[in-house]
């Protein structure tokens, strides 16, 4: 052993290896001083390495042009997918509304339809839908949305129908105050249609109807089903000419902007008055 270390080179080797082994053991034992020293020494190298790596990641002009083309195409594809997504989202929301309508009213036979045209010459915001007799729509069928009654089918052909809204004076439907049970006729009025309001007329002078009461259809007459929401009472007024009371009704649906609707093609007690009068005639 003494001969082995007689050589100066071997002594240096032994010392170097001893130092390395001691440092390795200290480091393996989790000594923070050793680790910190190494991190300090290698920190600069890591920065150089990171800088070189960043530089290596930089792309040439041709690669950037190619990548730009690829990303532009991807963006166009994603825009198309986004439009499809919004369409599906709208349709899904619409179908859920219809589902809720039929769930709460199992006797309703509904037919979803889209507004395809608005009559700009009509002051009462009538519109045309893409469903006609071929789809099973009949004259005077009620037209609703998830927020309640908005009108009725006033003229019809094979593929489309015109809908007169509850803002029009042509609308005449029996309605009542859900809270006080005071009844009247829901119709339109030229003074209120531009604000999107309807009116409940023929209210008894002693009626207990109040503001914010909810107005629903009465179902009398068999044209509209009972309990279809029409709107809420905005204000109560008196007619200057015949001194009768009337209520301004604010529909829950924005009738001037509605885009998709549901036609009630059949419901319980539909056309009862008509059938009864036909029996009497016989």
């Amino acid at each position: 052993m003494r001969d082995f270390f007689a050589d100066k080179n071997r002594k240096i080797l032994a010392i170097a290896l001893s130092v390395v082994i001691v440092i390795a053991i200290m480091g393996a034992g989790g000594n923070p001083w050793v680790s910190s020293a190494f991190n300090f020494l290698t920190g600069g190298l890591s920065k150089v390495s990171a800088a070189v790596s960043d530089a290596a990641d930089e792309k040439s002009y041709e690669e950037l042009v190619e990548e730009n083309k690829k990303l532009t195409k991807e963006a166009a594809d994603l825009r198309t997918q986004l439009v499809d997504y919004y369409d599906l989202k709208d349709e899904n929301a619409r179908l859920w509304r219809y589902y809720n309508i039929t769930k709460s009213n199992p006797d309703y036979q509904i037919l979803p339809a889209n507004v395809i045209r608005r009559d700009s010459s009509d002051d009462f915001y009538s519109f045309t839908i893409d469903a006609g007799t071929n789809s099973g729509v009949s004259l005077q069928d009620p037209v609703i949305t998830g927020n309640g009654l908005i009108g009725f089918v006033s003229s019809i052909n094979a593929v489309s129908s015109k809908v007169t809204t509850i803002l029009s004076p042509d609308m005449q439907a029996g309605a009542l105050d859900k809270k006080s049970s005071d009844s009247g006729i829901i119709t339109g009025n030229s003074s209120y249609c531009d604000k999107g309001y309807s009116v409940l007329t023929k209210i008894d002078a002693n009626a207990k109807i109040k503001e914010n009461d909810i107005i629903v259809t009465s179902g009398i007459g068999g044209i509209y089903p009972a309990n279809l929401i029409v709107g809420k009472v905005k204000e109560l007024r008196y007619d200057e000419y015949d001194a009768t009371k009337f209520a301004v009704v604010e529909p829950y649906e924005n009738i001037r902007k509605v885009r998709d609707v549901v036609v009630l093609t059949d419901f319980k007690n539909k056309g009862e008055v008509k059938k009864a009068s036909q029996k009497e005639a016989k």
């Binding site: 080179n9 240096i12 080797l13 170097a16 290896l17 390395v20 082994i21 440092i23 390795a24 480091g27 393996a28 050793v34 680790s35 190494f38 991190n39 290698t42 190298l45 150089v48 390495s49 990171a50 070189v52 790596s53 290596a56 990641d57």
Partner: protein, 168 residues
């Protein structure tokens, strides 16, 4: 004058080791071949040891091994100890018993690389339960070949440095 050129030669070796460390540890700079990247420090310090005296060979082996270990972890270990020892012995052999030639260098580098890396795999991968024979074949064979191919370049670079920074 002699001492001055020796200093420049050692400085050139040191710079070479640092550059190789950056090249080896920077993602994206060296392409991977079948999942393997070369261990550039091994042929670098061995080709230095073929030509230099034992003490400088020892310290460059230590430095190269330390950089190799630091590339894997925060601590000195297997490669530092082994390369320190191997460079010392290789320098001794080539100073007294063998001629420095390309073929000798290639043979030594190949054998040492294969043994060194295989032992590393055995002790730190296989026995630690982190890899099987398939992993060795798919990752380490390519690493051996890649490292030995790099040795060809490093041999001539270091030979150039040794000759040109000495003979004045």
């Amino acid at each position: 004058m002699e001492r001055r050129y020796t200093f420049f030669r050692y400085a050139a070796y040191s710079l070479e080791l640092l550059l190789l460390f950056i090249l080896q540890s920077t993602p994206g700079l060296l392409p991977e071949v079948y999942g393997g990247k070369p261990l550039l420090m091994i042929p670098a310090v061995l080709t230095i040891a073929f030509m230099e005296d034992q003490i400088p060979a020892l310290f460059f082996g230590l430095a190269g091994g330390a950089l190799l270990d630091l590339g894997y972890s925060d601590n000195l270990g297997y490669y530092t100890i082994m390369l320190t020892l191997i460079c010392f012995v290789v320098s001794f052999i080539f100073r007294d018993y063998m001629v420095v030639s390309f073929l000798n260098a290639l043979g030594f580098t190949s054998v040492i690389t294969i043994v060194l890396v295989s032992l590393y795999y055995l002790f730190f991968v296989a026995l630690a339960g982190r890899g099987d024979l398939m992993y060795f074949v798919s990752h380490y064979i390519s690493r051996f070949v890649y490292t030995i191919v790099c040795m060809v370049v490093l041999y001539f670079v270091n030979k150039f440095l040794f000759r040109n920074l000495r003979e004045f």
